[in-house]
């Protein structure tokens, strides 16, 4: 007896919960609302184009050709940092698979003991001691995990993000552990670019006015007025933001912690993550290791409905390649406050597979679906996930 299965490649990003949008087959990850991000792009590219068109020819000739060159380099750096911040995974924590969620809930129930009927159970909090300070870890009902320290759930993207700073609509993404340094370098380089353009606009207008008169200058280079306006307003906001984040970095704090006042006030815990040394804090945040994304976006989904075997001889593989079949969770899952209506049970199935690089035997797991299961024809190929 045999079964024939037609498969199509499905990558994991297609099945990720949360409200992100993905582009370039999972390489790019952003929030759903991108309108303000396009505005940011337009402002930066527009203003720089005007600068290169109106100011640079004059300044290159009358002052130095290095001016446009440096402006171009700065502009490229700003764009690189912006795109890097916007397109990368901020440090999203994947949601707990059903067994892990059940395991955690059983632990919680065991810790709580018997709650008399009618009484609300105690809040789900774990206390952890870090550097001699007690830090409370909260339970996330959406992701079904205890959030690691400094992680927070972004309601806009519907994800828990590690070292969550804030959700920035200007870059169209959350700012978290993985992209904070790019975000900071973006604001810093944008401040420099804005100051640079503003300064040379003034220099240009002054120099030209000496020769031609102020009003004539404005007539000849109308772009200058626009640039000065944009730069003036940008300066106040972006330079201020850069200053604020420099302050946060020197104290090793996140915007989220600062807003909530986690480490301020007399009776509060002192920041346990700070090295108490400004330089060390800066080095850790800006030059620390580059954390990998733990969301495998481009990996291939495994089959969750049929057991398929690419190698016919089970004796050739060690039992480490054996796959779990049924995972019937008997403990009831307590409904969460934000029931994800597009929860994907196939994510759970894909994680059931054993991580063997040679032969992949996708499991036949009959998991209780978190929500209505996917109906369609998407199945998978029994292949390794490739990074």
């Amino acid at each position: 007896m045999s079964a024939v299965m037609i498969t199509r490649k499905v990558r994991k990003w297609e099945k990720l919960p949360g409200k992100n949008t993905f582009c370039c087959d999972g390489r790019v990850m952003m929030a759903r609302q991108k309108g303000v991000f396009y505005l940011t792009l337009f402002l930066i590219i527009g203003t720089c184009s005007l600068f290169f068109a109106f100011e640079c020819p004059y300044l290159a000739v009358h002052l130095s050709p290095a001016i446009p060159v440096f402006a171009a380099l700065l502009f490229l750096f700003v764009m690189a940092m912006l795109l890097r911040t916007s397109f990368s995974d901020p440090g999203v924590l994947p949601r707990a698979l059903p067994e892990e969620a059940t395991f955690i809930e059983m632990e919680i129930e065991a810790a709580n003991g018997n709650v008399p009927a009618g009484q609300r159970p105690p809040p789900r909090i774990r206390n952890v001691q870090i550097n001699n300070q007690i830090v409370k870890l909260k339970y996330c009902y959406t992701c079904k995990i205890f959030r690691p320290p400094r992680a927070s759930h972004c309601s806009i993207c519907d994800n828990c993000v590690d070292r969550f700073d804030h959700h920035c609509p200007w870059v169209g993404n959350c700012v978290g552990k993985r992209n904070y340094r790019y975000f900071y370098l973006f604001t810093l380089s944008l401040s420099l670019l804005t100051i640079y353009i503003f300064t040379f606009d003034i220099v240009h207008v002054v120099m030209r006015s000496v020769d031609n008169g102020f009003l004539n200058t404005l007539k000849e280079t109308p772009g200058t007025v626009l640039e000065v306006l944009v730069c003036f307003f940008t300066l106040w906001s972006v330079v201020g933001l850069t200053g604020f984040h420099t302050y946060l970095i020197s104290l090793n704090q996140t915007t989220n912690e600062d807003i909530k006042g986690s480490w301020s006030g007399k009776n509060r815990v002192q920041n346990p993550y700070s090295h108490k040394n400004i330089i060390k804090n800066c080095c850790e945040v800006l030059c620390g290791p580059t954390y990998p994304s733990v969301l495998d976006r481009r990996g291939l989904m495994q089959d969750d409905s049929l057991v398929s075997a690419t190698c016919a001889a089970p004796s050739s593989s060690s039992s480490s390649n054996a796959t779990p079949q049924t995972t019937k969770t008997t403990a009831p899952l307590i409904p969460n406050e934000h029931t994800p209506d597009d929860a994907k049970p196939s994510i759970a199935a894909s994680a059931e597979k054993s991580p063997s690089p040679k032969e992949e035997l996708p499991p036949a797991s009959k998991l209780p679906p978190l929500a209505s299961p996917e109906t369609d024809a998407e199945t998978s190929i029994a292949k390794d996930k490739t990074h």
Binding site: I6, I130, P148, T290, S318, S319, P355, P357, I381
Partner: protein
């Protein structure tokens, strides 16, 4: 599209009995560390020492990946100067260590855990949150479980 033929004879996989999740140890801060406490569910299958050694080695490897020192600062500064485009062709230090960890876990599974009917899952596949240990049904003679 791929067409595969499957044989139902191959459906002789040992069933999963249960799973244990070794949690993160946050006592040293946000660095990646797992608790070395020996789970009671594994008592019948594995030596406490063996388990602790595995977890401790994993912890050491993660510490190596996340170490703040001259080398990581140099990598960071160099990358910044190239606007991080250097990572398009170069692997980061962390990624290199993750590969090492994957090899170590595979090795441990083959040598120690699989013969005992256990399976370690690489924590990276669980968001670096837990070390998942799958316990398979014991089908050896004489076990009445």
């Amino acid at each position: 599209f791929l067409v595969q033929t499957h044989s139902l004879q191959d459906l002789q996989q040992p069933a999963v009995s249960s799973k244990v999740f070794v949690q993160r140890d946050y006592s040293s801060g946000t660095i990646c560390r797992f608790q070395t406490k020996f789970p009671s569910e594994l008592e019948s299958r594995l030596d406490k020492q063996q388990f602790e050694e595995t977890i401790q080695t994993l912890n050491n490897l993660y510490a190596e990946a996340e170490k703040l020192g001259g080398k990581s600062y140099l990598e960071g500064c160099l990358a910044c100067l190239t606007a991080y485009t250097i990572f398009l062709c170069m692997e980061t230090h962390y990624e290199k260590v993750l590969k090492k960890i994957a090899r170590y876990i595979k090795d441990q599974n083959e040598k120690i855990y699989a013969p005992r009917g256990l399976l370690l899952t690489d924590p990276i596949e669980r968001g670096l949150r837990v070390v998942e240990v799958t316990i398979f049904e014991d089908r050896s003679i004489g076990s009445g479980r």
